[in-house]
Each structure stands twice: as C-alpha cells, then as structure tokens.
C-alpha cells in the first residue's frame, strides 16, 4: 500500500472493546463493497478471549477475541489499524500500547473527554514511531469502497445513497464527526463522491491534523480535489494556509470554517491574558475563513453556498464519470424485517401462563404489582400458574394446607434420606434436592394422582364401595391411597383427620365420602388399610375441582397430566431443602452405610 493511503480494500483492523453494533456495521460495509475478506481481523476485549459471531453478508463468521493487544498482534501481523472503543479513562494506555507495536500503523480513538495532556503524549509517541492517530472524540472516517471505521457514515441506506461503496475523487477532512455524514451526502450530490472522509475529532489537540490528511490527499493521484470543514478555535487552519503558501498543496481546496456565529453571542469577558499575545493567531471562524481565502483556498460566503462552490470546482475538473458497480443487496436483519412486516416465521414455543416482555411480569394476565398489592397468596399463584384460574379462598387455603401437610415427613423417608446422603457427600443444594425428589414415584409420595383417578372413576361409574374393592382385588391391584405402614384405625393419621375436617367446608365432598366408604370395606380386612394422606389429598382435590365447577374433561386432564403429584413434589421440596441445609449446617461427614447392616451372600 502506498504511504499516502491509510486504508485499502485489504485493510484489516483490530477492534478494541467488543462493540457488537459497529463491528457488524463494518462487516456490512465490507459486504456491499464486495471485499473478499472482512475488515475486522480480531477483537481485543480486555479480560476475555474466545470468538465473536457476526454476519458477513448472509454467512455467519467467527471473529477471534483476544484479551491482550500483544496476543492479537502476534496472531494477525497483517492487521495495521486499531479502532479503539475504550472509554476516556482507558483510551490512553490502550492507544499507547497499540502505537508501540510494530504492525499497527493507524489508531482511531473514539472516546470523548480525554485529558489533553494524555493526547499530547500519545501524539509524541505516534510521531516517534511514525504512526497515525485519528481522533480522539471522533466517529473515525471512511475510505469509500475500501474500509470503514466503526460507525462512520451511518446506516447502510445512507452509505448507498452517498455512493460510499465505491471510491470517488474527493478527499474530505473535518473536525466534527457528526457532520461527516452530512458532508458525505453533500459530496454524493455535488461530485462523483468521496475517496476518503476523515473526522479528526473536536479536541483542542487532535491526534492527526487536518493538514496531515490533506497532504496525504495531495499525494494521492486518485484524489482530484480536497474539501475541508474546520471549526473555530485552535490553529489547524493556519497550518493549511502555510502549506498552501509554500505550494505543498496544489489540488483545489474548498473549505469552510464553522463558528462564524460566535460574534453575536453574549461572550465571556477576556481579561487580557498575556497568553493571547504570544504570537498566537486569531482563532475566530471569520479570521480563519478570511486567511484561507487570502491564500487561494475556495471559501464560500456561508455554509449555504458550500455545496455550490464544491459543485463548481468539481465541474471545472471535467473528470470522466466513474463506473458504477452493482451493489449487492444486504440481507435484512431479522429484527428489522419483523419491524417492517417483511418476514414471518412459525414459533417454536407457546406460553399461555406468563409473560415477562413488558415492564413487569404477568401471571395469566395479572401484573406482578397487582399480585402484591392485593395480597395474592401462594395458593392463588398456584391456581393461576397451574390451573389458569383464580380459585375461591377455601380452595387456595386447601392447596396451602396440602403443602404444609406434605412439606416434610421426617428424615427417615426415602426422599429425605437420599437428600441427606447426597448433602453429606458434599453435593450442592440443587443436586441434593434432586437426589431426594427422584425417589418420588409409585411407592413414595406418588400415589396422589392414582388415588384420585381410581376413586373418581369408580365413583363416577356408580360402583358400590364393595364392588370397587372386589374389582381391584380381581385385577390383583392394591388400591392407591389405601393403607399405611404404621398408622391404623386405632392410631389414626392426624394429617388425614385435619384434611377431612377442613373438607367439611367444601360445597361438595362426594369423592371423599366415597373413599371413606371404601375405607370401611378395607378396614374389615386389616386394621391398617386406612385412607392414607395421599389418598385423602387425591380425592379431596377431585372434590375441590368439582366444587369449583371444573368440567369433567378438565378434571380428567389434571389427573392425567400429574398435577397432583406436583403438589407433593412442590411441598416436599421445602422439607428436602430443609434437611439439606440442616446437614450442611451440622457439617455432617460423608455417609457410609455399615457393612453389618448389609446381608452379604456368597
């Protein structure tokens, strides 16, 4: 690459800090310019490494991410630009490191608000190493059809309307980053377009000066005219005037210095600092515009005829028309396409119970704030999220009662035992809990659904209690929800007593009555064949649904899908976690079952 060109169609850059949007914008620009390789070689993201996924046209590519500049430089020695998105606090150290590498030649600093001494130090480092800084406090710049720094020139639509996908004949340099976009638009309308547009940034000491870029433009045979947009303050423009006087710039320059309005502002008093007399040139826009005009720079009378002056000068060059390449159509991003109703796709998931997309989560259409304001209980939340209805208070209270009753049943039952053993093996809370939960099934805690199903079916069919017991016996099946290892008619289960008592408040409890009739039959066979807690909860839930006017189909579905075992799982999780915490609090060691408790057979 020629020395006067900072960028070409092969330029590759590092992006310092993982800035997803500007990276994609650079790659999109590459694509419409038909570059063969993406312009982003790698990302430097302090403290992280790996890969970043981005689009290059329709394809997805992986861009390597390094945590250190030195690593990135070693792996990509051909990348000679770093676009530095570091904050004003860290821009100094990262830029300095980049300027001191062998291979990075240009550093663009985006940050605003860098201390001027830091920038001046960077300028001296750059000078020593023969490097170029663009910025700070800038959007960067763009080499049409070749390379784009970050966000320069805005949306792809704008880039296409300004023809920045192919090189024109105008070199443009400005202080303001914001107006670069507008000026690309002006140059797109009045000339054959931009060859390169650089925004040096609005700081007092920009890393590279307007003149430095104009001198590059002068040397570049592809550039036929130079356009500049200066600002009041600083002495940038006087350096251009000197160069023009000395004949270092011969190509036509059209330039305007903004800030001519300051003369009508209520000014700050100048107390006559001696500094103003140390041979410094006048920094007002009017003075600069006049001085530029005096040396033959084409200066309009105001910004209003800037475009006309540019058009005139360009016309006078009588350049042959540029060939217009075909611009590949950039695929729409999915989000943008959705916004425009230009695309549709079937969803993979459906949710009918909750929605977290708004300002607050909703449970079945009820906002969180209303749940809290109106003192919704856990029973209410379960009714909403499980049954998609609000249930009356006697029902939600019953749900909570079941949870209280089934929350724990001592450390010796299988679930608690497993949770305890896992906790003592040093497993975390979730693993220990799961170890306990996984014991829940047909023999432990999982009989609620079956009890509900069998009792309901028999009751609905109008089978007498005796017939039902007889049928089950014929099929060789135990009746789910009947029988207890310890409790009996004489030693009743207190939990069942409590539930039965509460059920008196249900509008209907025919299924419980039916189950109790069955218990009367089974008790004749053995004293411990009582309606146990699983059975009682099961039938009472059926009574509850019946009382709350659930349809037959709804009730069947609930029983079928295993909602009721869910009640047990939910409740018992409370107890299982209690046991896990208890063991961990007591620092219980690894449990090993004693040999003497195992019968070893040959």
């Amino acid at each position: 690459m020629e020395n006067h060109n900072l960028f070409s169609r092969d330029t590759e850059a590092f992006i310092y800090n993982l800035k997803v949007a500007p990276i994609q914008r650079m790659l999109d620009f590459d694509y419409i310019c038909k570059r063969s390789k993406p312009s982003v070689a790698a990302i430097i993201n302090p403290g992280n490494s790996g890969y970043h996924k981005a689009f290059f046209g329709t394809k997805e590519i992986l861009i390597p991410v390094y945590s250190k500049i030195s690593d990135a430089v070693t792996a990509h020695s051909h990348a000679d630009v770093m676009v530095n998105f570091a904050s004003f606090r860290s821009a100094y150290s990262s830029s300095k490191e980049a300027l001191e590498t062998k291979t990075i030649r240009t550093v663009a600093i985006i940050a605003e608000g860098m201390p001027e001494r830091d920038v001046r130090q960077l300028i001296s480092v750059a000078k020593k190493n023969n490097k170029i800084i663009i910025g700070p406090a800038t959007v960067g710049g763009i080499a049409a059809g070749a390379f784009r720094i970050g966000n320069t020139a805005g949306t792809i639509e704008n880039i296409i309307s300004c023809k920045l996908y192919r090189a024109g004949s105008v070199g443009f340099v400005s202080k303001s980053g914001g107006l670069t976009n507008e000026m690309c638009n002006v140059l797109g309308r009045t000339t054959d377009g931009v060859y390169e547009a650089i925004a040096i940034g609005g700081d007092r000491y920009p890393g590279s000066t307007m003149l430095e870029h104009m001198l590059r433009f002068e040397q570049n045979p592809e550039i036929k005219m130079i356009v500049g947009l200066g600002e009041l303050g600083g002495d940038e423009e006087y350096a251009i005037i000197e160069a023009k006087k000395k004949g270092k710039i011969t190509k036509p320059i059209v330039m305007w210095v903004s800030g001519t309005c300051t003369k009508i502002f209520p000014g700050e008093v100048q107390f006559g600092h001696a500094g103003a007399k140390t041979g410094k040139l006048e920094e007002s826009a009017d003075a600069k515009n006049k001085a530029l005009r005096d040396v033959g720079v084409i200066v309009p009378n105001s910004f209003e005829d800037f475009d006309k002056k540019i058009a005139e000068v360009f016309a006078s060059l009588k350049l042959p028309a540029k060939k217009e390449p075909e611009v590949p159509k950039l695929p729409l991003d999915y989000d943008a396409a959705v916004k425009k109703s230009a695309v549709r796709k079937p969803t993979n998931f459906i949710s009918t119970i909750s929605d977290d997309r708004g300002d607050e989560p909703y449970y079945v259409g009820i906002p969180m704030s209303k749940l809290i304001e109106n003192n919704y209980s856990i029973g209410d939340v379960i009714s909403l999220l499980w049954f998609k209805k609000r249930l009356p208070e006697y029902a939600t209270k019953f749900i909570e009662m079941c949870i209280i009753i089934a929350a724990d049943h001592g450390p010796a039952v299988s679930g608690a035992h497993n949770a305890i053993v896992a906790a003592r093996a040093g497993k975390d809370t979730v693993s220990s809990l799961c170890s306990g939960l996984l014991t829940i099934g047909p023999r432990f805690g999982g009989a609620i659904d079956d009890a509900a199903r069998f009792f309901k079916e028999a009751c609905d069919k109008g089978l007498s209690a005796e017939q039902f017991v007889e049928d089950m016996k014929k099929q060789g099946m135990l009746i789910p929800g009947i029988g207890h290892r310890i409790k009996s008619a004489k030693n009743p289960d207190k939990r069942v007593e409590l539930l039965k008592e509460y059920a008196k408040s249900f509008p209907s409890h025919k299924y419980l009555d039916y189950a109790l009739a069955v218990e009367q039959v089974t008790l004749k066979k053995a004293d411990n064949l009582i309606l146990n807690v699983d059975g009682c909860i099961g039938v009472l839930f059926v009574d509850l649904f019946d009382s709350c006017k659930f349809s037959k189909e709804e009730i069947d579905e609930i029983v079928e899908l295993g909602y009721l075992n869910g009640i047990f799982v939910l409740a018992r999780s409370i107890g299982l976690m209690g046991h896990v915490f208890d063991q961990k609090r007591l620092k219980q060691p690894l449990y090993r079952h004693p040999w003497d408790d195992i019968l070893f057979l040959p």
Binding site: R117, R120, R189, T260, G267, T278, E304
Partner: protein, 374 residues
C-alpha cells in the same frame, strides 16, 4: 455550543491549592489568603460592573496582606501541541504588554523532565535570586503537569524582604477532563463565566440537560428575534446559526440551541415546547421556526420528531401565523417528514418539509426570503 474543557478557576482557589501542594514539588510557599463575605466588603459585594461589553455582579473577593516588594516579574506556563512553554520576564506588572519583547520563552517538550531543561542560563535575572526563581519555576512546572493545568499566569510575581515568593496576581486554568486529578482538586468549583444572567427558559433547559445522557442546549440571543432554531446535532446547530449570521440576519436570530445524543420523546417534547414558547412569545408576524438537522447517523428521526410534533400540536393556536421549515435526513427520515407534513394539514400551519436531497441550510435561506415577503 462547542464545549471547552479548559476551565478557569477562582484566584482564591488557585492560590490555596498552590500553597497547599507546591512543597511536594520542591518549593515551600506560604500564602495568606482569605475569601470574604458581604459583611467585609460592604458596597462592592453585589455591585454590578461592566467589563468590556459584559456586565455582571461582583460576588467573590479575596483579602491578602500587603507584601512589600521590589521588582515585579511575569511568569506563565502554557500548553501547546508538542510542548509546554514557560514564559518569563523581569518586567512584569501592569505594563507587561509594553515590554513584550523582553519575555523569554522556554519550551519544554512533552514527556521531557523539567530537570533536564536548562533554565538558569536563559533567565534574564542576576544575583542570588536567580537560583530561587529557577527552583520555583521547576517546582511550579511539576505542579502544572501533575495538577492538570492548561495555563498558569503569575503577574506580578514578587519577592518580599525575606526573599519569600508571592504570586500577587494569579490566573489558573485546568483541564476538566483530567479525571486523574479530581482527587487532588479536592472538590474545587469551576465558576460560571463572569456576567450574563440566565433566562428562566435557559435554566429549565440546563436542568433538563443535567438529568439526561442526551445533550439539550439553549441560549436566548434576542427574545424579539424573528428566526428561531430547533436543530438536532452539535455541529449542525452551529452551522445553522452561522448561516443566519452569514446571510446578514444575526440580529433577527432568537436563539442558539441544540438537541442531540438521542433524547427520548419526553425530553424532546419539553425542549421543543420551551423553544416554541419563546418563538411565539410577543407576536408571531413574520416569525419563522427552523426544525433543522443534518443526516443523522443512527438516531431514529421519526421517533425524535414525535416529541416535537406533540409540542407543535399543543401550541397550534400560537402558530397560526408562523411559518415552519423542516429539513432532516437519517434513519427513518421519510416517515418523520411525512408526519410533519400531515401535522401541517392537521393543525393548519404552514410547514415546509425537506429531506437530505436539499442542502442542509437551504431552509435558512427560505426563512429569510419568507420574512422579507418573497
């Protein structure tokens, strides 16, 4: 408008900070200085004075003991792109400008240690005091670098009978971007420039600006002005203002203002409402409002226009005789411009709308022609 990070501080603060810190850089200095309140300065405190074209109220005084001294020196340090420059003259005091040719300049390249710079040989001072001045300059330079100064001027600089140094007049300017120095500055206040009272509308916008990450600026230039600006973007707003002035209508310009950095609809609404309020205050014959801006980078033009449209709609009865010009480009500009056109029909106000195919400041020209009855 263009914000300048170099900030002047009060002489009192400059002296206090120097006296408290210079010893660390190798020179002991003791300055007795007191800030006083209105009880001590009866008659002057709160008095309005005029300096140049600006009048303002005196609110801060300092009191110092009288220092009997012989010669008055001039000493300054300033920053330039590649070096700092130390300025010194034996002929300081009020007449320094008359003896300008006597000022010597000692450049200190950036990153150079001041100890490696030969000052002694270049200082036009003879006698014992010379070394004292040299070590004072070195300490002061180190302080200058370390405290984020961008300009220091001591005039006059004097020595008392015990050869103690006194910067009798002291100007100090700091780079308020020097975040590393914030601790050392110790809560120092950057005072507002002398003079100029804010209009309530300016205060309101300044408060809005403080509360948001976006940028909202307003300066009232002429409350009876006929041209009013509601312009997006810092750079573009300066150019619109320039163009009004360059076309010879600076006196008719009501305000300078800018909204940028993606303000939300509510902020844009309040900002627009304030500008429209000023623009329609006191008759609206021949008045024009320019809703301008360049081609935005990523700001959604239609979204920002929503706040402005709300403000215009609410003020429709005040806008009936006003002429409004719109020019804007950028993401979603077609929709934004369409909304503006439809609003014109809806509220029956003349709104002329232009996009990026029209030169940015064309609407300034159109507004002036309109004002002149063309």
């Amino acid at each position: 408008m263009i914000s300048i990070p170099r900030k002047k501080i009060r002489e009192y603060d400059a002296k206090k900070m120097l006296a408290a810190n210079l010893a660390k850089y190798g020179y002991d200095i003791s300055l007795e200085v007191a800030k006083v309140d209105e009880h001590t300065i009866k008659g002057n405190m709160g008095k309005t004075v005029e300096i140049g074209s600006v009048s303002g109220v005196l609110t801060n005084f300092i009191i110092e003991p009288f220092v009997e001294h012989d010669n008055e020196y001039f000493l300054a340090i300033m920053s330039q792109r590649e070096e700092d420059i130390i300025l010194f003259s034996e002929k300081g005091g009020v007449d320094v400008e008359e003896h300008w040719h006597k000022i010597i300049q000692i450049p200190v390249p950036i990153n150079e240690n001041i100890e490696n710079i030969s000052i002694t040989t270049r200082l036009p001072v003879s006698g014992e005091r010379k070394e004292r001045i040299v070590s004072f300059i070195k300490a002061l330079y180190k302080y200058y670098v370390d405290f984020g100064c961008t300009y220091i001027e001591m005039n006059p600089l004097a020595f008392d009978k015990q050869e103690r140094v006194y910067p009798l007049g002291f100007v100090c300017e700091l780079d308020d971007c020097e975040h590393k120095c914030e601790g050392k500055w110790n809560g120092l206040e950057f005072p507002q420039p002398f003079g100029r009272k804010l209009y309530p509308q300016e205060k309101f916008v300044a408060e809005l600006d403080d509360k948001t990450g976006a940028s909202l600026k307003l300066t009232v230039l002429n409350p009876d002005g006929k041209i009013w600006l509601l312009v997006a973007g810092g750079g573009a707003s300066v150019i619109y203002t320039d163009t009004v002035v360059d076309l010879g209508y600076g006196k008719e310009l009501g305000n300078y203002g800018e909204y940028s950095g993606d303000p939300n609809e509510e902020e844009t609404y309040h900002y627009a409402k304030t500008v429209i309020g000023l623009a329609t205050n006191g008759g609206q014959e021949d008045r024009t409002l320019l809703i301008g801006g360049g081609v935005a980078n990523f700001t959604n033009v239609a979204n920002t226009f929503k706040g402005i449209i709300r403000a215009l709609r609410e003020s429709k009865e005040h806008l009936q005789k006003m002429k409004i010009f719109v020019r804007r480009g950028g993401p979603n500009y077609e929709e934004g411009l369409k909304m503006m056109r439809e609003l014109g029909n809806e509220i029956n106000v003349a709104i002329d709308v232009y996009g990026p195919e029209t030169h940015m400041t064309k609407i300034v020209d159109l507004a002036i022609k309109q004002m002149n009855g063309h």
